[in-house]
């Protein structure tokens, strides 16, 4: 199962994702720079990513908790998601995301 991640310099990383892991955990495990300060509790909005292309509509719907927490995200766009709330599964093989800019 692949997770493609574009870092903040535009470099694409092909990561091997594991079922049940969140996208945040896969990205963090690859030592890419993702703060994920609260460790996956949907309490900080520092694991913010942009979901690329058609993937936005293929992901399971956002829970209200994630929608509310994104109010504390910086540079939020229509395709913004919190990667700690995206659980990897076979359906998401090939998911492509870009790391959102961080707070200055």
């Amino acid at each position: 199962m692949k997770l493609f991640v574009t870092d903040r310099h535009g470099k694409v990383h092909e990561l091997e994702a594991r079922k049940e892991w969140s996208a945040m955990e896969v990205i963090r495990d690859a030592n890419l720079p993702l703060a994920a300060e609260c460790g996956g509790a949907c309490a900080c909005a520092t694991c913010h990513v942009y979901v690329e292309g058609e993937w936005k509509d293929r992901l399971p719907e956002q829970q209200q908790q994630e929608i509310d927490m994104l109010d504390f995200g910086v540079a939020v766009e229509e395709n913004s998601r919190l990667s700690c709330q995206i659980k990897m599964s076979e359906d998401l093989d090939g998911l492509t995301v870009t790391l959102a800019p961080e707070s200055l």
């Binding site: 703060a35 609260c38 509790a41 900080c44 109010d71 939020v76 707070s103 200055l104």
Partner: protein, 348 residues
């Protein structure tokens, strides 16, 4: 809860000064207290608890030994109860800014001018200081403290100004309601037509919009227009209107807090990737009598768990005793059986 919090600006002397007041710092007070060492704690937040209080006060924690389930705030409250017999002194809403060597130990100075002298320094600062998130808008830094503010210290600064508030949480909505009556014009900008803020504040804001007393824009902020630190307009973008500009003199972004290592990086202690390497016997840093415990330290096998931080605090306290009381013999005792410890705890 009675907390011994003292006003900023004073000069203090104690055995151990702890930077941070999260759960690991609080339990360190307990372990130090059993050894008769007094502690002062400095924290940027206005209350104890650190991440437990700021990030997840209501979220459950299931991996504290012996406690099946406790919330972040619940754990903080219990730790505060547990250390009450040792009367720690808290310096809240301040950032430890400078560390200097003195004849007897160390002097920590905060950004509010408080000075604490101690034989031992314990850095229990977690992920660093909680500071306001700064949106990555190009050039925003050149407007900071003239047109861009991340907190409202003096409301008068915003009187008769065109104020743009960005965000959708309680701070954004509360300041919208507070500043609307005194601003020349107030615009709230948020990326969606929905808010995590309290529904009551949102309703009040919507009523002001309906009465034509302020504007609400569902949009993103793309850039800032102005010169010499003086903001003139904010460039917005949304689906309906594409790119457009609104006049603005002040911008208040409210996107919650993030953790920055801050001045600890300049304390002259060895760092590795923004963490402080320590030994696993005493949890001492590259500087003698400066310790680091909890999420801010690193060592082979480190796990960022609250329970690991508790262990680190217990071992740190042993060495802190040797630093503070070099002529005394350290006596290892159990709270279950030691009457002297039970007296300290006030249970005898």
């Amino acid at each position: 809860m009675a907390v011994n919090a003292v006003p900023a600006g004073g000069q203090h002397k104690t055995d151990v000064v702890i930077i941070g007041a999260g759960p690991i710092a609080l339990f360190a007070v307990f372990e130090l207290g059993l050894l008769d060492l007094k502690a002062h704690l400095i924290d940027i937040l206005d209350r104890p608890g650190g991440q437990c209080a700021e990030l997840y006060p209501e979220k459950p924690i299931y991996d504290i030994p012996g406690i099946v389930e406790v919330s972040g705030q619940g754990l903080t409250d219990r730790l505060m109860d547990q250390i009450k017999p040792f009367g720690p002194t808290f310096h809240f809403s301040q950032m430890a800014e400078a560390l200097e060597k003195t004849a007897e130990g160390w002097r920590v100075t905060t950004d509010a001018g408080t000075q604490v002298e101690a034989r031992v320094v314990v850095i229990a600062a977690g992920g660093g200081s909680f500071t306001p998130k700064k949106p990555p808008i190009p050039g925003i830094e050149s407007y900071e403290n003239t047109s861009v503010f991340y907190a409202v210290r003096k409301m008068d600064r915003f009187r008769d100004k065109i104020v743009v508030i960005a965000g959708g949480g309680d701070s954004a909505l509360d300041w919208t309601l507070n500043l609307q009556p005194i601003a020349k014009k107030l615009l709230l900008v948020h990326h969606r037509d929905g808010f995590r803020a309290a529904p009551d504040s949102v309703n009040k804001m919507r009523a002001l919009v309906a009465e034509g007393k302020m504007e609400f824009h569902v949009a993103g902020i793309k850039s800032l227009i102005g010169a010499n630190g003086q903001l003139e307009a904010v460039a917005l973008n949304n689906k309906e209107r594409g790119d457009y500009q609104v006049a603005a003199e002040m911008l208040l972004p409210f996107f919650g807090l993030t953790m920055k290592l801050g001045p600890v990086a300049n304390f002259g202690i060895g760092l590795h990737e923004n963490l402080i390497p320590v030994d696993t016997e005493k949890f001492e840093t590259s500087e003698k009598s400066i310790f680091a415990i909890g999420d801010i330290n690193t060592y082979p096998g480190k796990l960022k768990l609250i329970l690991s931080g508790f262990h680190e605090g217990a071992l740190m306290a042993q060495q802190a005793f040797r630093c503070c009381r070099p002529d005394e013999k350290l006596r290892f005792q159990y709270t279950t059986s030691s009457t002297s410890l039970q007296k300290k705890l006030g249970v005898l």
